[in-house]
């Protein structure tokens, strides 16, 4: 499947989530890391996954990346129930994960890193074809990499992040998961990466963005899913939510919109339950 067809598919099935988690739970020994998690990602949508340390964000990413499978619950990809037992199964489904440590080989050049494990080869490596495709990919992302023949070690943090994100696109994924892509970056580099995320959205990809930086989240995300202590603790549309609301959902402060809404619903439910008795 080519990148173009991914975009067309995305436009056609905007109503259907590309990735949807239902009731996913995961425990490590005595610790219940995730309990009954629901999450949906639509094509052409950036979903920010936020939460305090230990909220279960990384566990969720690892389940989607095939590092370890969930204990219970289902994952649907394009409406099909799927299992993700291994990292390569995750890749084959069309989920590309960019881990926080980027996992680049510092001693190799940009081209080698982009095509690592997927080299174009006809007996011998086709360096020219790979270099050509590297340039066209980086241009599509408007990435500012001066040369693709220099070792990744000599690139700046933002450029390294760009290479890692560009690499995730080589396999024509449907969903890209970015784990703290701006954590170690300066102002300009952060802006570069945020531009990049917007470009992924324009391509019709579903993006899961994990971040602690609320400014970044509010800048690019369409929706914010909050995790707290391994449970869903709110799902907001970004234009309709304030910074304080997100923070209180993350920290679990009692007086927030989620709690108030839940209380209101509960009261309504109770009143409807009471009314037949009356």
């Amino acid at each position: 499947m080519t990148m173009e067809s991914a975009i067309v598919d995305g436009e056609r099935s905007t109503r259907q989530p590309v990735l949807s988690l239902r009731g996913v739970s995961k425990g490590f020994g005595a610790v219940q890391a995730l309990t009954d998690i629901h999450l949906e990602v639509y094509p052409g949508e950036v979903v920010a996954l936020v939460g305090d340390n230990g909220a279960g964000k990384s566990t969720l990413v690892k389940i989607l990346a095939g590092v370890h499978p969930q204990d219970s619950g289902t994952i649907e990809f394009d409406g099909q129930v799927v299992g993700i037992p291994t990292p390569s199964a995750s890749r084959q489904l069309g989920i590309a994960t960019v881990f926080q440590d980027l996992a680049l080989c510092d001693n190799l050049d940009v081209v080698s890193n982009l095509f690592l494990g997927r080299e174009i080869s006809r007996g011998t490596l086709d360096e020219e074809e790979m270099e050509k495709r590297s340039w066209s990919l980086l241009r599509q992302l408007s990435a500012r990499i001066p040369s693709v023949r220099i070792a990744v070690a000599s690139l700046s943090g933002g450029q390294r992040q760009t290479v890692a994100i560009a690499r995730s696109l080589i396999g024509d994924p449907r969903v890209v998961i970015l784990d703290e892509p701006t954590a170690a970056l300066g102002v300009a580099q952060t802006a570069e990466v945020l531009n990049l995320i917007e470009r992924l959205r324009e391509r019709g990809l579903g993006v899961i963005l994990i971040s602690h930086n609320m400014a970044d989240v509010q800048a690019v995300a369409d929706r914010v899913a909050v995790l707290r202590l391994g449970r869903n603790n709110g799902d907001f549309r970004v234009p309709e939510v304030s910074y304080e609301d997100i923070i209180s959902a993350i920290t679990g402060a009692t007086d927030n919109v989620v709690v108030r809404r839940a209380e209101r619903l509960m009261e309504a439910e109770e009143s409807t339950e009471r009314s037949p008795e009356a």
């Binding site: 996992a103 080989c105 190799l108 080698s112 690592l116 494990g117 990499i145 001066p146």
Partner: protein
């Protein structure tokens, strides 16, 4: 010419090759550009094989001053023959160092192969070709065992191969049994190959032409492919000059060696092995995965490279090269003994790879460093022997050179870090 090339920056991007459109790039065009790019690389700590080439020249000049026989054709022919066996072992060391691992047992493994050759051929009267194959396969099997232990149990290769150093020395002694020393008949083809087979001059010149022509064609075709892909291409002049220099260098070497016995077949075999391994390392997916694993195991694993297969394949190759080197050494001496593949075989093979410029830290190096490194080590050894200095000096000086090479490796690593390249 160079000024003009730099001042043409405001060209429209459409006319520029895809890889030259960034205005931050320092443009390098033509011969002057190639020379300046080389200078920048060296200052940035990307020394490549420069220190070892300079070191080799210094060593040769010093020994020639101390003993005028050093650079005689006769002695240089000896030098090439001395290089082949341990150099072959060193190719395997380069591979294992590229992964950031080490094999300390190559000496013992080469001794086992030599013992199999001696006992199988002279005592058990196996056909020679069969004995050679069995000896080489024994090396591969040892490598497979190392690879299995390393990937299955995660024991550091340092410890596995240290155990192997001792264990396979024992196996070598066990195979030899009561024979303290076995002579391999002089009329067997393997001894003739190692001691008496030299290329006739016409064949050596033909090979030199083929090598230079091959390099020219390969570079030239790459230029054509790059042009087709819309990328910048190197200048034809640089390609031609590189190939021309190689041709001149090879022809002078061949001519000088042929004033004595000529180019030894065993040395040629060693060089061919280096060229073949260099090809596999730089032009195939397997080679790319070796560098990737050496750079970062975790990154390679996440990129979908089957890391365990890479480790096992390299351990097998290292032990196989060790076995081949052991056979060559036995054939050159026409004898096998308990001391075949003794202590300095091991250390010389490792030292050669490091001196040749392969990093101990993994992910950096080239098959050529086996050739360059062993030339340095054997030049020192040969020169000191010519001066009638005994092995005590040889060990001390080789040790000092190894230390120097490791220091250069560490310094250039630091320099790369400060120039943002490590």
């Amino acid at each position: 010419m160079s000024k003009a090339a730099q001042s043409t920056a405001p060209e429209s991007p459409a006319e520029l090759a895809a890889d030259l459109q960034d205005e931050r790039l320092i443009r390098t065009e033509g011969l002057g550009g190639a020379a300046r790019a080389f200078g920048r690389r060296v200052r940035g700590g990307d020394l490549g094989s420069l220190p070892v080439v300079i070191g080799l020249v210094v060593i040769w000049v010093v020994f020639q001053i101390l003993n005028p026989n050093f650079l005689s054709a006769n002695n240089l022919v000896n030098l090439t023959l001395q290089c082949a066996a341990i150099g072959t072992i060193s190719i395997g060391i380069v591979l294992v160092l590229l992964l950031g691992q080490i094999d300390l047992s190559v000496g013992s493994v080469s001794g086992v192969a030599a013992a199999i050759l001696g006992v199988g051929f002279t005592q058990l009267h196996w056909p020679l070709w069969l004995t050679v194959i069995v000896a080489i396969l024994a090396g591969s099997a040892i490598g497979l065992l190392y690879g299995f232990l390393f990937t299955r149990f995660g024991v550091p290769s340092f410890v596995i191969t240290l155990a192997g150093l001792l264990g396979f020395l024992g196996l070598q002694l066990w195979i030899l049994g009561p024979n303290s020393s076995i002579n391999i008949p002089y009329d067997s083809w393997i001894v003739k190959f190692a001691q008496q087979t030299f290329l006739p001059p016409w064949a050596a010149y033909a090979l030199a032409v083929i090598a230079a022509g091959g390099m020219f064609l390969s570079d030239w075709r790459r230029n054509i492919r790059r042009r087709k892909a819309g990328l910048s291409e190197g200048s034809v002049a640089v390609v031609a000059i590189r190939a021309g220099l190689l041709l001149v260098g090879l022809c002078i070497s061949v001519w000088y060696l042929s004033t004595d016995r000529g180019t030894g077949a065993m040395f040629l075999l060693f060089v061919i092995l280096v060229v073949v391994m260099n090809f596999f390392l730089t032009r195939t997916r397997w080679g790319r995965s070796v560098f990737a694993v050496g750079g970062s195991v975790e990154a390679a694993r996440r990129a979908g490279i089957k890391v365990n297969r890479v480790f096992i394949s390299v351990f097998i190759l290292t032990s196989t090269f060790a076995a081949v080197g052991g056979l060559l050494a036995a054939a050159r001496l026409a004898s096998v003994s308990a001391s075949s593949g003794g202590t300095d075989t091991n250390l010389n093979a490792i030292a050669a790879a490091v001196i040749g410029g392969t990093s101990l830290f993994g992910g950096r190096g080239s098959a050529w460093s086996a050739l360059l490194g062993i030339l340095v080590i054997q030049s020192i050894s040969n020169g000191l022997t010519l001066m009638n200095l005994d092995s005590s000096y040889r060990f001390m000086i080789t040790g000092a050179v190894l230390l120097l090479a490791v220091i250069i490796d560490s310094l250039s690593r630091r320099s790369r870090a400060s120039h943002g390249q490590a």
